[in-house]
Amino acid sequence: MDLSFRKSSRKIWQTLSSIKTGVILIILCVIFSAAGTVILQRPMTDPEDMQRAYSPAMLRFLDATGLTDVFHARWFVALLILVSFSIVAASVERFPNSWRYFARPYKSPDETFRRALTTQSHIAVEDEEKGLGAAERALQKLGLGSERIVRTNSFSLFSERNRISEMAVYIVHASLLLIFLGGIVDALYGWRGFLMLTPGTASNQVEMNNGSSKALKFAIRCDDAGEETYADGSPKKWWSKLAVMDDGREVSKKEIVVNDPLTYQGVRFYQATFGRTGKLVSLALTATPANGKGPAQDISLGLNQIAALDPDTKVQLAEFIPDYVVQDGRVYARSNDVVNPAVHMIVTSVKNNSAVNVWLPEIPGIAENATSPYVFEAKDLKTGIFTGLQVSHEPGQWSVWGGVILMALGLTLVFYVTHVRIWVVPVSDGHGHSTLWVGGSANRNRDAFEIRFRQIVAEIEKELKPAAAAAMERQARAVAGTASIAGR
């Protein structure tokens, strides 16, 4: 029973670490991710739109299977975890071999290896020493360098570059795992929410996406906020002057804009939106007596504020509607955007014991501007603004960025750094004829390597020639010398 358990666990391990499994898992990821982009997803879509797009039966099915929120569904997360396991298993399975290959360079090739190697060449030399010396010089010239490997009777040469390239693929996969790890940490411990502030207020309550509220250990105060627009009205810049209050003390200050957040204790505040609350802050008016007798007055009113125009008359700002629309003889607010503002003021006169409803603009059928003792003209309108801040805490992002950098390194090694090995082994055939066996191997870009190898061989042959020429010269001198001796 123990044996069968081991056998089955071995089988499971083999399946998990096989490339086939990896490919199948990737295909499944692709299919479900694509489904998540085509099927309407709940977090982002209005429930009404969802009901409009799918029949009730279909919607029930999609909800039950989790297809309406694919990327947060348990089985999708499980799939991603399975992908991570498969990467780990595949790497662990293959790593020992690669490590052996990496840690113990094959410096002295035996005969079987030499016979089998694809990239090789033979150079005839008259003397082993000289041949190896020439090869050393040639490799040096080409920037390759070499080390002498001691053999039984002589030595051979071994030159290699960029052995790290053999580990490249593990670096890439490790970086993927780092990224996944970051994602998982953020999914478990990270959070995102929203915080709306009007200038002058402070808050430590963040509204989360699911409706709940999270209290931060510190507060954010908004000192000022503003918007700059282009000529056509589209937004150019949104900014907020924020201050962090920790324990009642102001700890840090920053003016943030979109793309430039404030960070404090790992929590980031992003300038996300900007808007008008639609609430009146103040309205500046000029009031001129209707009968023409008397000077015009400049007054400023807030909501429900009363101002005395003269000992007899008072005006109160009763209503401010940012975007008005008239229906059935009543004035309604269509939205909170300051598009079509209307003000309702009540002018009371003690003497006449009257109250007149003045509307700016003068809404027909509702406004009684004609009977008002004063004529009003609006000069300046200040409405409330709010700044919308996106708040997020992502502890795992460092793992993600670390993974990205590591992947950049890994991919560079995978594609652009080749592990090159050159061997030069003196071979004598027993008849006193020596040859230099030159062999080479590269783990990628083999066609470019072939060219390089030819260069190396040519360089070695070039190095050998002066020796041959020198030898011939010595021979010639020797002959001449003998002749001269003989001649003497």
Partner: protein, 465 residues
């Protein structure tokens, strides 16, 4: 099965050249009118027109080679590509200067950059890798890009706050380079299949399936009584007409639907004949299929012409609202690309059919093309990786989260996975040759969906382009 030898059609070949020549003359005339109208020779629109004319010229010359077999046409095509690139660079510089930022903020600007990169990479591939006919595939894509650009909103739009960031430039530059490299790998993979002696009939099948699929997608706009639905266009605001948030208003062009249906049958004919040839094992059907391709090109051109004419003039009724509304080519960029793309794909097939031997002679051998495709993907993949990383970093700074499973992000990840799959299969399983080529073609199809499909079919946060 003996391979059917299709004889040349000198008469129809001449008709093709005349047709192409007339189109270029037409375009030049329009360009001349524009210069006269604006009084400005070197405006961005004119430079773009010049680029279009030159790229179209290059494309036409490649086709001319296809018809006549004159090799010097290829040299001139290369020169035309150079000229187009210079004009294109002028347009880019002009745009950059006017806008005050590199051209990356809208679909128009991205297409401008993409076409420029495509032309540049084409010339690099010709010089460095010696693949002199790569323009046959990349130039049509560039032409479609420039035509699309002519229709999209081209006024310089100032950037909304989220787009004002260096990371935007980094992200989009990487995207353009990556997608152009993927386009190149697609072209090379196709050429590999040619050199790998894939039967011409199979190219017929693939082209036919592509065109049929395209027209099937077009026919989703078919309205019951033969009308054709297009999005209404508001000429004043230069934008599509919306009924409510995210819901476009469609108008129905009468009778155009029948024409599209007819052309659909015409493009389905070669596929049907191909299948008949397979089933009946009769090559005579293949000959018929090839003639059917030629006829379908003529009909597709007709469909394009009518589409252009009907969308330019006239106001049409809508099923969703009262009154008549105008439409515009700019409201239907997808349909236009589909129509033009279909014509080009079929023309390329004819090029292969008539000039296969010449192509095989001019192209590097299969092994070399296989390796070059792999090398191109080795360039594309790191670029894709960096593009996604830069996008994530920028998203983190702008929206507080580096990954939102936004459709564009998700499809970019899918693209990345497909190319990672290609590399895995090649490196660890030793996949070479045809299987690798098919994989590369699949990868490019996913790239095109990520770039175009997501924008028009699946909106989201990435609403800028």
């Amino acid at each position: 099965m003996a391979r059917a030898k299709v004889e040349q059609h000198p008469a129809t070949g001449a008709a093709l050249v005349v047709g192409v020549g007339l189109s270029i003359a037409f375009l030049l005339f329009i360009a001349f009118l524009n210069v006269v109208k604006s009084g400005n020779l070197l405006s961005e629109a004119n430079l773009l027109y010049a680029a279009l004319v030159f790229y179209a010229g290059a494309g036409a010359l490649y086709l001319g080679f296809g018809v006549t077999g004159t090799e010097s046409y290829i040299k001139f095509a290369s020169l035309a590509t150079w000229a187009g690139l210079i004009a294109n660079s002028g347009a880019v510089a002009h745009r950059w200067y006017e806008a005050g930022h590199p051209p990356f903020a809208s679909l128009y600007e991205m297409l401008l950059s993409f076409v420029w990169t495509l032309a540049a990479l084409t010339l690099i591939a010709e010089k460095k890798y010696g693949v002199k006919v790569i323009g046959t595939v990349t130039m049509p894509v560039a032409i479609v890009g420039v035509i699309l650009m002519q229709l999209l909103r081209s006024e310089v739009r100032p950037l909304v706050p989220a787009l004002q960031s260096t990371w935007l430039h980094v992200h989009v530059t990487l995207a353009m380079l990556a997608y152009a490299a993927c386009a190149l790998s697609f072209a090379l993979a196709m050429m590999f299949l040619i050199q790998d002696k894939v039967k011409t009939e199979l190219f017929l099948m693939a082209t036919s399936i592509f065109t049929v699929g395209t027209y099937a997608a077009i026919l989703t706009r078919f309205e019951r009584w033969g009308g054709f639905n297009v999005v209404a266009w508001d000429a004043e605001n230069k934008s599509e007409v919306f009924l409510s948030r995210g819901v476009r208003l469609f108008v129905t062009i009468p009778d155009l639907g029948w024409l599209m249906l007819l052309v659909f049958c015409a493009v389905a004919a070669p596929l049907v004949l191909f299948l008949l040839a397979r089933v009946r094992k009769d090559d005579g059907f293949l000959n018929l299929a090839n003639r059917a391709v030629f006829i379908s090109i003529l009909l597709q051109t007709l469909a394009l012409a009518f589409f252009l004419l009907r969308t330019r003039d006239g106001r049409y009724p809508s099923l969703d609202a009262d009154g008549l509304y105008a439409t515009n080519l700019a409201a239907s960029p997808f349909i236009l690309s589909a129509l033009v793309g279909g014509i080009f794909a079929n023309l390329l097939y004819l090029l292969l059919l008539w000039r296969r031997d010449d192509l095989e002679r001019l192209l590097p051998d299969a092994d070399a093309l296989d390796r070059i495709t792999y090398k191109t993907i080795c360039i594309a993949f790191p670029l894709l990786t960096l593009m996604i990383a830069a996008g994530a970093f920028w998203a983190n700074r702008a929206w507080g989260s580096y990954w939102n499973w936004d459709p564009k992000e998700t499809w970019a990840a899918i693209t990345w996975l497909v190319y990672a799959g290609y590399l895995h299969m090649r490196i660890t399983r030793g996949w070479r040759g045809r299987r690798a080529a098919y994989f590369a073609i699949l990868g490019f199809a996913v790239v095109m969906f990520t770039f175009f499909g997501v924008t028009y079919l699946l909106p989201g946060l990435h609403a800028y382009a």
